[in-house]
């Protein structure tokens, strides 16, 4: 028998449930109550592509140090799903804990002798207390929540407070929930050894941070970015972006006098129509966006080429999931990097933004509309399932009082009246961006006919070679302008000068931060650069040039960001070492440390600690 794990404010607890059993809200209460005790948590939904009946998990990492990446391994399993019992049991770390419904006796062979087994007759308790089948089901979740509060020392008042907030104004629901909570807690205190070795202790590590899903934050960014038209087609894991946008619009975008909508949201017939509607609206001067995932990007590529070549602003939120094809619809990956960067046939490339968490989802989603208008081109916000569909602790949203939208180069009726020369594709100041007019701007000036075919500076059709080259060279100049406008990378230097660097992006961020701490503890020094956008800023090329070897950490099989770096920064491929995680689960610090330290060993870098010992 292993020694039971003893850890305070630093453990992983996983709930194994059946999809559709009402466990989600109880599990969420557990996570939030720990937050209210001032201790950071990061919960993750692990769910199948299914409505009801298949297994689903909720993994909560409790970390006073604020490590929000997935840790890997489970210290305590709340095993509520007989279907996955064997698999769930296997996952528990030696010395860990198993909490289960002991109503039906299980043979000894169904347990492990190196984990502490905590049985509670949940079904029996429910059957005694409730007659209605659905109530038995729902309150079972709250009863185990009550028991857990005693087992891991979570303040039950915090849970009761949260239940109160949840059922504010619905007193009929509030009381039975609090009762069930108390019932579970009382049982545990009377019959089980409480607390166990895993404990939550009140701390003060949250500050003014907020707790929100990335997709909701992205949608809020679209509100603050001034989007008025949203067209979308349901696809996991992006649907909740459009749904959250709808909610935010109802709250913030109703005309007070009439109750009418200052927005238009269309659930289109497919992704092609979605992006078509966005392009039509943006051509006509509204800010518009769509939210989709990899398969949707594939479908949209023809239109993305049109928007690139006709120079129409468009914001595309890509909440990435596991590919290729239908792939792993409910698992996470960063595998659309290349298909987004070079979406569509012919010579095309598009700006991409890589948010690390909901805070940046908000910031980059709002900023994407300014970029798209300024550059008159499609801009992608490349989030993923891990950020998009999980609540994440992050810095609060900010919006400065003096912040204004940048609508880019728009020639107005007044400018046309003043005799300003208008050429839709005429670069007047060298940044590669021409003025546009909105349809209806002026009775006799400023009208143009745009198209996906080749045209001259005045939007007139021409297949003349020099005219074509002039136009596409200007598009390249525009891409250079984009390089200056996109968010700069963030550098985290090692404590000592080092010849090794690591590049990472997006949802890898929390695990990477933790990994860097762990590597540092081992005496392995690596400078880190978090890339936040494509085209790559000069700082990215300089970072690569400044190191002998650079690891590129990403969540796809083919090292897509590495390919993009090799291609766009003209880097010797041998210099960039891929660190790839692509099984559909979020990357962990453990994985990164293992991979990087193994590769460093090949370069004869000896960890300091080993030298000392």
């Amino acid at each position: 028998m292993s020694q039971p794990i003893e850890r305070t404010n630093d453990f992983v607890i996983k709930f194994a449930n059946v999809n559709g059993s009402g466990s989600a809200s109880a599990n969420m209460l557990f996570a939030k109550s720990i937050l209210r005790m001032g201790v950071p948590v990061s919960p993750r939904n692990i769910f199948p592509s299914n409505i009801q009946g298949l297994p689903t998990w909720y993994e909560v990492r409790v970390s006073e140090n604020g490590y929000l990446g997935r840790r890997g391994g489970v210290d305590m399993m709340v095993a509520m799903n007989p279907q996955t019992w064997d698999q769930d049991l296997m996952e528990i770390e030696p010395g860990g804990y198993l909490f289960y419904d002991s109503t039906k006796p299980l043979p000894k062979s169904k347990f492990r002798d190196d984990v502490s087994v905590i049985g509670m007759p949940l079904t029996e308790i429910c059957n005694e207390s409730y007659t209605d089948a659905r109530q038995r089901q729902l309150f079972k979740n709250i009863i185990y929540l009550g028991a857990l509060s005693a087992l891991v020392d979570v303040d039950p008042n915090e849970i009761a407070q949260l239940i109160g907030e949840q059922y504010k104004g619905k007193e009929a629901l509030l009381k039975p929930n609090v009762h069930a909570l108390q019932m579970g807690r009382d049982y545990a205190l009377a019959h089980l050894k409480c607390p166990i070795g895993l404990r939550v202790r009140r701390a003060d590590r949250i500050g003014n941070k907020i707790f929100i899903e990335g997709n909701s934050a992205t949608a809020l960014g679209a509100i603050y970015g001034g989007a008025t038209v949203c067209a979308w087609y349901p696809i996991t894991p992006s649907s909740s972006v459009a749904e959250a946008f709808t909610r935010h619009c109802k709250r913030f975008r109703s005309e007070p006098e009439t109750g009418k909508s200052r927005y238009a949201i269309v659930q289109a017939e497919d992704e092609l129509a979605s992006i078509g509607i966005v392009i039509g609206a943006a051509w006509n001067g509204a800010r518009a966006f769509t939210a989709t995932s990899g398969p949707g990007i594939s479908l949209m590529t023809e239109f993305i080429g049109l928007a690139y070549f006709a120079e129409i602003p468009a914001v595309i939120i890509d909440v990435q999931r596991g590919g290729p094809s239908t792939g792993m619809p409910t698992r996470t990956q960063q595998a659309d990097i290349l298909s987004a960067a070079y979406a569509s046939h012919g010579d095309t490339k598009h700006p991409l933004l890589f948010p690390e968490d909901p805070h940046e989802c908000f910031e980059m989603s709002a900023g994407a509309f300014d970029l798209a208008d300024r550059l008159q081109t499609p801009v992608f916000v490349m989030t993923d399932l891990d950020i998009g569909m999980n609540d994440r602790l992050c810095e609060p949203f900010e919006w400065g009082p003096s912040r204004r939208l940048d609508r880019g180069k728009v020639m107005t009726r007044e400018m046309l009246d003043a005799g300003k020369e208008f050429g839709r594709y005429l670069d007047v100041d060298g940044d590669g961006i021409a003025f546009r007019t909105y349809p209806g701007a002026h009775p006799t000036r400023g009208a143009y006919f745009t198209r996906g075919t080749t045209k001259d500076r005045y939007a007139r059709y021409s297949e003349e070679g020099p005219v074509y080259v002039d136009n596409v060279q200007r598009l390249l100049r525009k891409f250079e302008t984009a390089r200056e406008l996109v968010p700069k990378p963030v550098l985290r230097p090692a404590r000592q000068t080092t010849r090794f660097g690591v590049i990472y992006f997006g949802s890898t961020s929390p695990s990477m931060s933790e990994a860097l701490d762990l590597l540092d503890e081992q005496g392995l020094h690596v400078d880190a650069l978090r890339v936040r956008a494509f085209p790559f800023s000069d700082e990215v090329s300089e970072f690569i040039a400044g190191h002998e070897q650079v690891f590129v950490v990403e969540q796809n099989r083919d090292a897509q960001l590495r390919m993009l770096l090799v291609n766009e920064c003209a880097v010797d491929p041998a210099k960039l070492l891929p660190v790839l995680h692509y099984d559909g689960t979020p990357i962990t610090a453990r994985f990164i440390v293992r991979e990087i330290s193994a590769k460093l060993a090949m370069f004869n870098v000896t960890p300091l600690r080993k030298v000392v010992s």
Partner: protein
């Protein structure tokens, strides 16, 4: 070749409309389509309709897909913004444009390849959403730019120029539009300007999804014996059910008509559609009657033309979405951005 401009010198006696524009002010670049192409007649009808309705050209947005038909927006309304999009996708781009600014007139021009094949879905969905638009299909039953393949509106049993027989069933765009809920549905023939111009005018004044199927013979690839979309064939089989006269305001009836021969439909904006009945039993106010009538007469090999259905009081997509009266592209930042305080409030609800 569409960059060729026509001489802007006008004859001083050219008639002007209420805005002081001549018909020439509604023209576009010189057409590059084949001489005798039906599409050019449709362009001319659009020009005539806009001139007669005193429409400010810059208040029209013209959109198209890909194909011979979709090139035509370059050849009319040169002072209007135009967008030649991608194949079969004009309806979605038009829908988005319409959402951004409800105040403009949206004219979608498409062909049978564009709307009945690759864009069949977008055609159907834009119509069922009730987008306020004039959707014209220039229907010649053939792919012209790629040199003569059958399109999905080619009749079963009709023959290609090379003699191949079409074995697939034809899609009847008018029937589909009726089924999808279009609130103004017409069919006409590019060779009958007297019929076509009023139908376009009525569609422009209609505040909902207006669809016009215009049979427009392809002189290069589909004007031979064995074709059911040739000039000769259409002239022989054209069964006009009514003749339309469109008035912005009601004008006195000048001619004499028999009892029940004349029917007036007052549209929501006050415009009057005065219909002279050519087929006594035909009622364009009844969608189901219209659909049955079309099926019965198609079975007899007749091509029914005229105003086939109109709902004088339609609801459009903006009504469904309850959008504000101000065009969305004209809303200011103070109307769109909730501001720092609202955000701070939101932050505190997320702790």
């Amino acid at each position: 070749m569409t960059y060729l401009t026509k001489p802007r010198l006008h004859h001083p006696t050219l008639p002007k409309n209420k805005l002081g524009y001549t018909r020439r002010d509604y023209e576009g670049a010189v057409s590059t389509l084949c001489a005798g192409c039906g599409h050019d007649s449709i362009s001319a009808a659009i020009v005539q309709a806009c001139f007669e309705l005193d429409i400010e050209p810059h208040r029209v947005a013209k959109l198209s897909g890909i194909g011979c038909s979709s090139k035509t927006p370059a050849y009319f309304l040169g002072n209007s913004h135009g967008f030649n999009t991608v194949h079969g996708r004009m309806p979605s781009v038009l829908t988005g444009a319409n959402l951004a600014n409800r105040d403009l007139i949206y004219l979608g021009v498409s062909g049978d390849g564009d709307s009945a094949s690759i864009g069949f879905g977008q055609f159907a969905h834009s119509v069922r959403r009730g987008v306020n638009m004039v959707y014209i299909v220039e229907n010649n039953g053939v792919y012209g730019l790629t040199k003569g393949q059958f399109s999905a509106t080619a009749d079963k049993g009709s023959k290609s120029k090379r003699g191949a027989t079409n074995t697939d069933a034809a899609i009847d765009m008018v029937s589909v539009a009726l089924q999808m809920g279009a609130t103004y549905v017409a069919r006409s023939f590019s060779g009958d300007k007297a019929q076509l111009v009023p139908l376009i005018k009525g569609a422009i004044l209609h505040k909902g999804a207006a669809f016009i199927d215009v049979i427009s013979p392809c002189v290069a690839f589909n004007n031979h014996p064995g074709s059911t979309k040739s000039y000769d064939y259409i002239r022989e089989h054209n069964e006009a059910v009514n003749f339309l006269d469109v008035m912005v305001e009601r004008e006195p009836i000048t001619a004499e008509y028999g009892p029940g021969e004349l029917r007036e439909v007052v549209q929501h904006d006050g415009s009057v559609l005065r219909l002279r009945k050519l087929h006594e039993e035909y009622d364009p106010g009844d969608r189901i009657v219209a659909m049955n009538y079309l099926q019965e007469h198609a079975a007899k090999g007749e091509i029914v033309t005229g105003l086939l259905y109109v709902d004088p009081d339609p609801e459009d997509l903006h009504a469904h979405l309850n959008t504000v009266d101000t065009p969305l592209n004209q809303l200011g930042e103070h109307e769109l951005i909730p501001g720092p305080e609202a955000l701070e409030h939101l932050n505190s609800s997320l702790r």
